[in-house]
Symmetry: C3
Subunit: 176 residues, 3 copies
């Protein structure tokens, strides 16, 4: 197996696409986040205590913007992409995620890791995420320790305020 | 220094090789894990409280499958590969690891980071890991907090059950 | 957008440059660290409880060597580089950092994440970091838990001993 120059260039673009996706979630940059998805994007994230299913770019951005809001801390770090081509304009990718989510409303500090299984498509406007699933490798929830001194949380400034958020329960099942 | 197209393609394959290695450990996928190693692979991992030395693909897979078993949580995230070529069919690589290992049998929650020093070889079946060492950057062990609510642990389903495991003490020294 | 072979090669070199930067900080390798910077490097790291501003390679190495010293544990993991070219010899890069810093002198265990905004320049000696900024995505400080059993800390051996360190207060502001 040898990659062509075009494929190596495409791999670089796809890695940067997924990198933007992670960065935009954690920085509350919803305008740029929207550019990461195909219009018909679909998502199925199988968490430990939840399952998320969303279809369509507008709903996906709405879900992210309302969930990773001004009250929470969100960290999504992507590792070790394994990307291969289905055809010239379609690629599959696996990424290994480490995430942390501190949600004062639920009183939970969640640390976890997931494996993403993505499908990317080439469009006139560059590569986009068309489908994304993940399975949890592990998920551990602790009460938020009173000893944590939160010295900075970017989403406090950039995330959506309470009256700007949609109800996300239509996309989420909770198992606890 | 400029990389050739062949070298850039090889770098991509080697990165994906090491990515599979990490993923297969944490998901209990021992069949695919075996395909990551040259038959004469050797390993020397110098941990904080342990040292692991294994030779040969069959023993390496046996060690991983028996250690990262249905009782534990394992997370191995690889970062910032620095890969260079010794010759057309041999490469060296450094990876920076973050790992977490929750082992109820020992009552330990270990967080750490290591630097891998690998040697890869090109075979008829693609690039393989021939040798791998690591040194610990840090290793911290805590008792498993009773406040941790483990909502998912993939290895519970995919990892080896007690009666399927080998005795790993022949490969491991413990220092505590 | 398609990357040329030269650009893909440059991207690989720049990724390895930043990888060396992270590795050298955490392993106390200050000789190699110096080779990562342009002589006129400047840095502006906007932390949660601090702000660091340094100009010039000698001062930057002096800051790192004196801060990440034999008393502390430092972990700097870089993720999801988004690198683009300004011209043939200049590139911009965003990296998503996860860091941990255990500082017994201050009694603090800091976990955080930042977004780096870098500028790289091609020199006769390869690509170098000319400018680097970061903003915190989050920063959480806890007291060092008495339950932590530190089994290994590489900087204890490789980091600067107290009488070898510079006073870093000229480069740092603390906000707490």
């Amino acid at each position: 197996m040898t990659f062509t120059l075009q494929q190596l260039s495409d791999l670089e673009e796809i890695r940067q696409l997924k990198s933007r996706y992670f960065r935009c979630i954690d920085t509350g940059n919803h305008t740029e986040l929207a550019t990461c998805f195909a219009e018909d994007v679909s998502v199925d994230y199988r968490g430990g205590g939840y399952r998320l299913r969303v279809s369509g770019r507008a709903d996906m951005v709405e879900f992210v913007a309302s969930s990773f809001n001004s009250d929470v801390i969100a960290m999504h770090h992507g590792h070790t992409p394994e990307i291969s081509f289905v055809d010239d304009n379609t690629a599959k990718g696996t990424w290994y995620l480490e995430d942390r989510f501190i949600n004062p409303e639920r009183g939970e500090d969640t640390m976890g890791s997931s494996l993403y299984y993505d499908t990317y498509v080439r469009t006139a406007d560059g590569w986009k995420i068309r489908h994304s699933e993940y399975d949890r490798v592990y998920e551990i929830v602790s009460p938020i320790s009173p000893q944590l001194d939160i010295r900075h949380a970017m989403l406090r400034e950039t995330g959506r305020k309470p009256d700007e958020r949609s109800d996300t329960t239509k996309w989420l099942e909770w198992f606890d």
